[in-house]
Symmetry: C2
């Protein structure tokens, strides 16, 4: 049976992405990075998601990435509560480059065939490391980066949601029976999602679009 390393954050996207890996017949090995993010709840959600998906293994790796300048890592930079033009301060420098590199080492160590990541670039915050060109270039790097690729076997980097809107992602997740109440998207660490941060805004907009499309006009 094929093996896949699935990066899971505790949010919806990586939940669906890992579910798709499973559906494609991979044994899944989940990897979550505890990088000192303000939102500690997403780590709890990641655990619930891995359990729901019956992952073979769930590795939670601790690295202190507070040296990366971001509203998600540094107390002195506040998480924005208004709509932002351009890339918001919640962008974490090189985060996906770091996460995929760790997934790659894990994949090579357990002889996995693929890495799944839930990035998407339709309704997103403009993060450079969520775009199709980025995934394509990372694959090209992986193709020369490992002992495995030197020996001829390729580790595939798969981003099955890359061209989906948040609305489509949520609709698919629901249609597959994924329990979205397990997930956490908010960048803050409050009792309930703040509803104002970029991540909450994108999630709530999609949910309201789905609700609207389900209200059929009266004849």
């Amino acid at each position: 049976m094929k093996k896949a390393v699935c990066l899971i954050s505790g949010g919806i996207d990586s939940f669906l992405s890992a579910y798709i890996a499973k559906k494609k017949g991979y044994k899944i090995y989940c990897l979550t990075i505890d990088y000192g993010q303000k939102s500690r709840k997403e780590l709890l959600s990641a655990k619930k998601v891995a359990k729901f998906l019956k992952a073979e293994e769930h590795l939670i790796l601790k690295i202190n990435l507070k040296f990366l300048k971001s509203a998600l890592t540094r107390d002195e930079i506040k998480i924005p509560e208004r709509k932002i033009r351009g890339i918001p301060s919640t962008y974490v420098p090189a985060r996906n480059t770091i996460f995929i590199s760790l997934a790659l080492g894990y994949a090579e160590s357990i002889s996995a065939d693929a890495i799944f990541i839930g990035v998407n670039s339709v309704d997103f915050s403009g993060y450079p490391d969520c775009r199709p060109i980025y995934i394509k270039r990372y694959q090209k790097l992986i193709d020369v980066a490992t002992k495995k690729t030197v020996s001829g076997k390729r580790i595939k980097l798969l981003a099955p949601l890359i061209n989906l809107s948040k609305k489509e992602i949520i609709k698919r997740a629901i249609s597959y029976g994924l329990d979205l109440s397990l997930t956490w998207s908010c960048y803050k660490n409050e009792k309930r999602p703040c509803g104002k941060c970029p991540s909450c805004r994108i999630r709530e907009k999609a949910i309201s679009e789905i609700k609207k499309s389900q209200i059929k006009p009266e004849r």
Copy 2:
């Protein structure tokens, strides 16, 4: 003044590479990864090297990479003491991919212009992530990976030793007055270098070649 993030391990190569950055007029910010390697002495050497080079900052980042299958990270895999054909078990899956990703995040966070790494591929252990093609592809990835590159500014990935032999590296380091007694190359953690591991073999072979070439034949 330009800034560079310099990956330093405590060995000769990264020492020379960081020195070259300084010589080229960069302010240098050193980064060392304490990834749970058996050789703890290299971390001490990295500190000495950063001090010698008068780095603006020296970040020692702790990550437990014992999940990566390698003789350098796992007690149950012994460090080879004989000459090996092919890539030895001291190869650490995705190590340079991880290290450069962390350097990239650091570089973007401090608005650095370049990353320096001491990899070379003439007298080396065949590690895939030390080859010119690997550095070239990583640069291509960096070019789309960061907010900085989206904004038009490029972070350069520089490997100034890539085409040098170990002998040439050592000769240059000595000619620049770098104190090589500060460095540590051995993969083991013994009182003295073991002289048998792949890293010791490469270093000692180069030193003996230099000594031989300095003995002039009698007339």
